[in-house]
């Protein structure tokens, strides 16, 4: 078994705000992240796949194709977007890094050809804050 990681990045606006709560409660729980007019981040996405090496190529999987899949199903939908307003697959979800990592997993997983398996989606919201999701 070998693990292969591709790093991509996107820039997006978001806010943390639960519409079921009033403004005061949102500010108590989410602080300045609840700012009505949004704020934003440079997100960095690490996608790790796992599997066995194909003898003919020496590859687990062609990393160029992995990059194209991440770009088509994730980056193009998130980059320079407002995560709360512009992204169909995040509709009605809280735009936390945790939920975003799980949503990225769901976007990518169906497009990876067997026997390659998705191992981890690691998502940095800032250089100091990141989330890892392993699919369970």
């Amino acid at each position: 078994m070998v693990y292969l990681t591709r790093i991509e990045h996107f820039n997006a606006a978001h806010k943390l705000y639960n519409p079921a709560w009033d403004r005061e409660k949102n500010e108590i729980v989410f602080g300045k992240c609840a700012n009505d007019n949004w704020h934003g981040h440079n997100y960095e996405l690490h996608v790790t796949i796992k599997g066995e090496i194909v003898e003919d190529t020496g590859f687990l999987f062609d990393v160029k194709i992995l990059s194209l899949l991440i770009n088509e199903f994730v980056i193009e939908k998130l980059d320079h977007k407002n995560l709360n307003l512009d992204v169909e697959f995040l509709k009605d979800k809280m735009c936390s890094t945790e939920n975003l990592a799980i949503a990225v997993w769901k976007q990518l997983q169906p497009h990876l050809p067997a026997p390659v398996k998705l191992h981890c989606v690691k998502l940095y919201e800032t250089p100091r804050i990141f989330v890892e999701y392993f699919g369970d």
Partner: protein, 139 residues
């Protein structure tokens, strides 16, 4: 003679939303010029700022400037105004100024210049992404 001047640096960061948009142009021209940066619903960045102060060291302290004091000035003057804000909507200085990284670095320089003793040279660098940054004054 050997120069007595030393440069000291303080790095800070803030997270903000913005869009690049010229209100004098229609949406099509804005998209032609600014591309996806003109998205009406905004996007955002983790901005990093690097403030450089140059001067002679004080013989009593060994400091050019107390970096704790510099940090507090940056926090009060810049970060409280920009962090977790929408640069276009929440910051009056960008009401009629496009919040490009160039204009942001000039804004930060001017705001800090008012608070930092003129005996010090000031230089500011702003990173919009790890790959795009601007500095003022230009070198």
């Amino acid at each position: 003679m050997q120069s007595k001047k030393v440069s000291v640096y303080r790095r800070e960061h803030f997270n903000a939303a913005h869009r690049l948009h010229n209100p004098a142009w229609d949406a099509e021209k804005n998209f032609d010029v600014f591309g996806k940066c003109s998205n009406p619903n905004f996007h955002g960045h983790n901005y990093e700022i690097e403030v450089r102060i140059t001067g002679e060291t004080d013989p009593e302290t060994g400091f050019v400037i107390n970096l704790k004091v510099l940090r507090d000035i940056i926090k009060e003057t810049i970060l409280e105004k920009l962090d977790h804000k929408n640069l276009n909507l929440d910051v009056p200085e960008f009401k009629d100024v496009n919040p490009t990284v160039e204009n942001i670095v000039i804004f930060i320089f001017n705001a800090l210049r008012e608070k930092i003793d003129l005996k010090f040279e000031l230089h500011v660098r702003v990173y919009e992404t790890p790959r795009n940054f601007a500095e003022y004054p230009a070198s």
